[in-house]
């Protein structure tokens, strides 16, 4: 028995050494890859949102020279100097990107998939050559780089429509490209728990004082002028279509495409309006009524006839102009031809 065992042990040893030697190149590679993964994980944990900030050098290390890779990168191309251009929505998309990143990280913590995908960003001013490498010349731009991809230019670009619905659609894009799950997007509540608690405590504490004041009857609530101002403001706010601007996220005005120094304040077509336009017309709507009320309620109490006359002429002029302006604007905007129905013999 013992004789027969020995060769088998030898055989095993031999097999082992062969195996080991054949594995060495893989091992060496996998070590460097795992190093990079470890470093990426480290960088990720240091960043607040989980998005790793890269520049030309680090991108080269993690992407171009580090081949082959076991992970894919989702790169957000950022440019700080364009943040104030609202029509690009860079800031919003960036924050949504952060949200997707943090969701992914928290959802995949301590699972193998946490080292499969990393969220990175590049700043244009620091890493222009990387922008050139990816041939990025328009923003917003998000790219997904597969482990297999050799040339960065071949990587998949996230479509406009994929970040149209914000974080949810970005997550869909990521899931379809990587076959990883991002997890349910959880937006941070507008008011944090501490703030909410504080508000509740403050409310509870202040209730007795408020009730006392109410019973004594010396609060702002009893001042009808406050109520008056408030109701007129709500009226102005609503008729100016401000709610439309909020819901549709309309800008106050548009810059002319051909000549950026020119602004469009009025948009033709009744389905849409711009912010400034709404407020202008809302103001015209309100001013006529306010003037009428001023004349009929306050001006009648003035004893000086000249003052009365002058103010009335002013009020009449302004009201007439406002109504005319609104009628003109309405006809221009909607294109309706409002006309009377006169007897045909009059024509």
């Amino acid at each position: 028995m013992s004789i027969s065992v020995k060769p088998s042990v030898h055989l095993l040893l031999l097999l082992f050494t062969i195996l080991c030697s054949s594995l060495t190149p893989f091992k060496a590679f996998s070590e460097s890859d795992s190093d990079r993964v470890a470093e990426l994980l480290n960088l990720q944990s240091r960043s607040k949102s989980g998005v790793i900030h890269l520049d030309d050098h680090s991108l080269n290390r993690f992407l171009t020279s580090g081949k082959p890779r076991s992970y894919s990168l989702l790169i957000f191309f950022d440019a700080a100097h364009l943040h104030d251009k609202h029509e690009l929505h860079l800031k919003e998309i960036r924050s949504e990107f952060d949200l997707v990143a943090s969701t992914f990280i928290s959802h995949n913590k301590n699972t193998p998939s946490q080292s499969k995908l990393f969220f990175c960003d590049l700043e244009f001013k620091e890493s222009q050559s990387s922008f050139a490498l990816f041939a990025v010349n328009t923003l917003p731009h998000i790219r997904h780089v597969d482990p297999q991809i050799e040339n960065p230019k071949d990587s998949a670009r996230m479509d406009q429509s994929d970040f149209a619905r914000l974080a949810e659609s970005m997550a869909e894009f990521v899931e379809s490209k990587t076959k990883l799950t991002v997890g349910p997007i959880e937006r941070p509540p507008v008011v944090s728990k501490n703030q909410l608690g504080f508000a509740v405590v403050a409310l509870l504490l202040s209730t007795p004082f408020l009730v006392k004041k109410l019973l004594d009857g010396d609060t702002l609530f009893l001042d009808s002028k406050v109520w008056l101002g408030l109701s007129v403001f709500v009226y102005f706010f609503s008729v100016s279509g401000a709610m439309h601007n909020i819901i549709r996220k309309m800008p106050m005005f548009l810059a002319d495409r051909n000549d950026p120094s020119k602004f469009t304040f009025f948009y033709q077509g009744s389905g849409m309006q711009l912010g400034a336009e709404g407020f202008a017309v809302g103001f015209l709507y309100t001013i006529v009524g306010l003037l009428l009320a001023f004349v009929t309620q306050i001006l009648v109490r003035v004893r000086n006839v000249t003052v009365q006359r002058l103010v009335m002429i002013f009020a009449l002029f302004v009201s007439f102009w406002a109504v005319k302006k609104v009628v003109y604007l309405d006809n221009w905007k909607t294109g309706y031809g409002i006309h009377g129905f006169w007897p045909s013999s009059w024509k």
Binding site: Y235, A242, V288, G289, A293, I338
Partner: protein, 826 residues
């Protein structure tokens, strides 16, 4: 001021004034009715729009079932001839009841196939019951009108009622003059016209009347403190609940007003009487309506129901606490009172907190956390547009832009602020209610264009007040300063002016008489009213004072004349606009379309053509699939079963149809076949330029479909975020069923396939349909009907099998063959 005049003159003046206002009200009623008849005169007496068809069907069922019962029962009861009169009366009562019960239990299998729909529990019965009773009354008076005629004219009749209700409401707030003005404005406000032209047989037409009338009764109770009006108020609220989901607006607004009154220190026993019975009786009555049931108090599927519950409970408790406080104040010494107040307030607050906690727990335990989509879209305006395509897709739920206000309330938009200010000077319970009404309704109308309808009456009331105050001041200025008039007498001055102004002056006259009434009202509000005689003396003194003051409060003569002229001009512009809106914008029945071109008028009656074709050429039990917009019409006019209709209660079912429309032919065929659909109906406007066709609605089908079936993705149908149907369109788009059914053989028309709505040539011109066959296309191609091809081969295989049953081997082979060729088209 009237008390100064000698008795006879005063009564005569009052009589003349009353007669005149009655006459004016009659004219206003005629105006309200007749301005809505354009649709009948210009087109014909048909019911238009989509929703009204459903209401019409319901009314028909209601009347038919009760008529059948009538015949059956009268046969039975005919034996008892002795008591015929009594029996007939009882019978009538019994019948009405029976009709209603049949109606409650009606299960509609003509729609939402294969689910069907319980009608009784899911519709607001107010409108149908109203029209049904109207029809029955007319018939009992031997006026044999058809059901449809009654339905067509219900809305105009009720808008006249609404105008009168507005008069009553505004009269309670600011007197007769403002009332008449407001009624005249409401009679022709375009926003209301849009929902109540003859033929638009819609819930809102009746509901707006109910809304205004309920508010009137509330204010009347508030002014008089009479329990009689409080009860009437609850009944009127019940009618409102029967008619429209907008009742939640009332039941939220009134507690808010009560709260406001308490907070601003305006509590009175009248407030208690106006509020408490309404809540108790009204909620009990509301829960009798099946569609509302206990939703009125408990469920979370209602618009702002959370607010409603909290408001109700809280306000209900608070008003009782406050009532107790006032009661205690009356019977205790000041010191004791302080102690008692602390006690009551602290106990009240504890109870309040407990109730809130319980409610919060209840709401939190419900699946939607107490919020339904519609309510959220009001509180967080951006909610619906982000998350619920089926709400966001409806144009009524869009936020309006400023031209919508000009279109819907026109120059009233200018006058409302003046009305608000007039209501604050002086602020009474009634006027504070009106202000609250306008502020809340204007906010909500800003969120959803549909709620403009609730805002319009408020705008009319406040503009009426503003105009009447303005005319009051200006005519007074003219009257007291006209050369030759000393200013003591009250007659003469008006006679010189034109007819238009005479009416205005009468309004002013009436207003003046009511201003004394107002004063009375203001005095009434003082909590201590023990000595009525003294008060009356005060009042008389006050009225003398106001008269002297009023004579001093004048504006320069010529400026006043110009102002009046401008105001009349403004009013004239309003009338022109309203008549135009009624005649041109809102009177076109969407079932018959017209267009003017250089060679005259074109009438597109394609919808009815298509529905008639379906009615005459298909089997009674065939199922027709179309987008939900056309569901009610198809069931009512073609009498065929539909898969989805305008009552969008089941999102998944609608998404199924949306998915089928957005899928390629084969997948769509499978979906439709699984629903037993025989015919598919699409609306196509590309030939004549009808822009609200299915291709334009298609993205919503994709969105709604994709919301439930994730394999439908909106980006697949868009090229670079743009919706296009030309050669640049995506292949998913060009292969979708909707594209194919719309553009099938379209190129044969002009050889190019030019779509006049999208203003482009279509992308895919020559293609064949594999799973569908065209069976009917209307005159202008606006409606195209396709039939699902049946699975011919399989059937042939089966028949072969049955024929060659003797030869087992051949059967087996043919079977195999059949299996191999399971789908003959691929």
């Amino acid at each position: 001021m009237a008390t100064l005049e000698n008795g006879k003159g005063t009564t005569l003046r009052y009589a003349v004034g009353n007669m005149l206002s009655i006459f004016i009200l009659l004219l206003i009623g005629v105006l309200a009715f007749s301005i809505r008849l354009f649709s009948v005169i210009k087109y014909e007496s048909v019911i238009h729009e989509f929703d009204p068809y459903f209401n019409y069907r319901v009314t028909q069922i209601l009347i038919v079932s009760s008529a059948i019962n009538h015949i059956l029962k009268s046969l039975n009861y005919d034996l008892s001839k002795h008591y015929r009169g009594l029996v007939a009366y009882l019978l009538f009562q019994f019948l009405t009841k029976n009709g209603i019960y049949d109606f409650w239990n009606w299960f509609d299998d003509r729609t939402w196939y294969p689910l069907g729909r319980v009608i009784g529990g899911t519709v607001y019965p107010g409108l149908t019951l109203t029209a049904g009773s109207l029809w029955r009354i007319l018939n009992s008076l031997n006026i044999p009108l058809s059901v449809e005629t009654v339905c067509v004219f219900t809305a105009p009749i009720f808008s006249a009622n609404a105008a009168w209700a507005t008069y009553l409401l505004t009269k309670e707030v600011k007197g007769t003059g403002a009332g008449l003005m407001a009624a005249a404005l409401l009679a022709m406000v375009p926003s209301y016209i849009s929902r109540s032209v003859a033929g638009s047989y819609d819930n809102e037409a009746v509901a707006i009347f109910a809304l205004i009338f309920t508010f009137y009764l509330y204010i009347k109770t508030l002014n008089t403190g009479s329990l009689f009006y409080a009860t009437l108020n609850a009944l009127s609220y019940f009618y409102m609940v029967c008619s429209w989901g907008g009742y939640t607006f009332i039941i939220n607004l009134i507690p808010m007003h009560v709260l406001l009154c308490i907070v601003t220190g305006r509590y009175s026993s009248r407030l208690y009487i106006a509020y408490a019975p309404l809540v108790v009786l009204g909620t009990l009555l509301a829960s009798l309506v099946p569609v509302v049931g206990f939703n009125a108090v408990m469920t979370s599927e209602h618009f702002a129901s959370f607010l409603l519950m909290v408001l109700h409970m809280q306000v209900f408790i608070i008003i009782h606490v406050v009532a107790l406080v006032y009661y205690i104040k009356g019977i205790l010494s000041p010191k004791m009172f302080k102690v008692a107040v602390t006690l009551v307030v602290s106990v009240g607050m504890v109870v309040c907190c407990a109730v809130i906690a319980v409610l919060a727990a209840l709401v939190a335990s419900s699946p939607t956390k107490g919020w339904s989509g519609r309510s959220l879209s009001l509180l967080d305006p951006t909610y619906a547009s982000k998350y619920i395509p089926i709400i966001a897709s409806v144009s009524e739920h869009q936020p309006p832009t400023w031209p919508s206000y000009f279109m819907d309330i026109n120059v009233l938009a200018f006058l409302v602020p003046a009305g608000i200010i007039a209501c604050f000077l002086p602020l009474s319970d009634a006027s504070s209610f009106v202000v609250l009404y306008i502020v809340t309704s204007v906010y909500f109308s800003g969120v959803m264009v549909r709620l403009m309808l609730v805002f319009a009456p408020a705008a009319c009331i406040l503009s009426g007040i503003a105009l009447s105050e303005a005319f009051d001041v200006f005519t007074r200025s003219i009257k007291f300063q006209l050369p030759g008039v000393s200013g003591v007498s009250h007659s003469g001055a008006e006679d010189t002016t034109t007819g238009d102004v005479v009416i205005q002056n009468d309004i002013v006259k009436a207003d003046k008489h009511s201003s004394t009434y107002k004063k009375e009202d203001a005095l009434k509000e003082r909590p201590s009213k023990k000595n009525r005689k003294k008060e009356r003396e005060h009042l008389e003194k006050a009225s003398i004072k106001t008269q002297i003051e009023k004579r001093l409060l004048v504006l320069p003569l010529e400026a006043s004349v110009i102002s009046i002229l401008l105001l009349v001009l403004l009013g004239a512009f309003y009338v022109v606009h309203c008549v135009w809106a009624a005649a041109e914008a809102y009177s076109a029945p969407s079932i018959v379309l017209t267009s003017y071109s250089h060679d005259g008028l074109h009438v597109f009656d394609d919808f009815r053509e298509a529905y008639a074709w379906l009615r005459h050429n298909t089997e009674v039990d065939d199922k027709v699939a179309s987008w939900w917009d056309y569901g009610y019409q198809t069931t009512a006019m073609a009498n065929r079963t539909v898969i989805v209709d305008n009552n969008t209660w089941n999102n998944t079912h609608i998404a199924t149809v949306g998915t089928a429309m957005s899928s390629p032919e084969k997948a769509a065929w499978e979906i439709f076949n699984s629903l037993d659909v025989k015919y598919v109906l699409v609306v196509f406007g590309g030939l004549v330029g009808y822009s609200s066709d299915d291709i334009n609605k298609f993205l919503w089908m994709v969105r709604i479909g994709g919301g439930v079936f994730p394999h439908i993705k909106e980006p697949d149908y868009l090229r670079d975020g743009q919706y296009r149907i030309d050669s640049e369109a995506t292949s998913t788009m060009l292969n979708s069923l909707m594209y194919k059914l719309s553009y099938y053989r379209f190129v044969e028309v002009d050889g190019k396939g030019f779509d006049r709505v999208r203003r482009t040539e279509i992308g895919k011109k020559y293609f064949k349909l594999t799973h569908f066959e065209e069976v009917f296309t209307t005159h202008h191609w606006m409606v195209r009907i396709y039939k699902l091809k049946s699975m011919k081969n399989r059937i042939r295989g089966k028949t072969k099998k049955s024929k060659s049953s003797s030869k087992a081997t051949t059967t087996a082979s043919s079977k195999r063959g059949g299996r191999r060729k399971k789908n003959p088209w691929y």
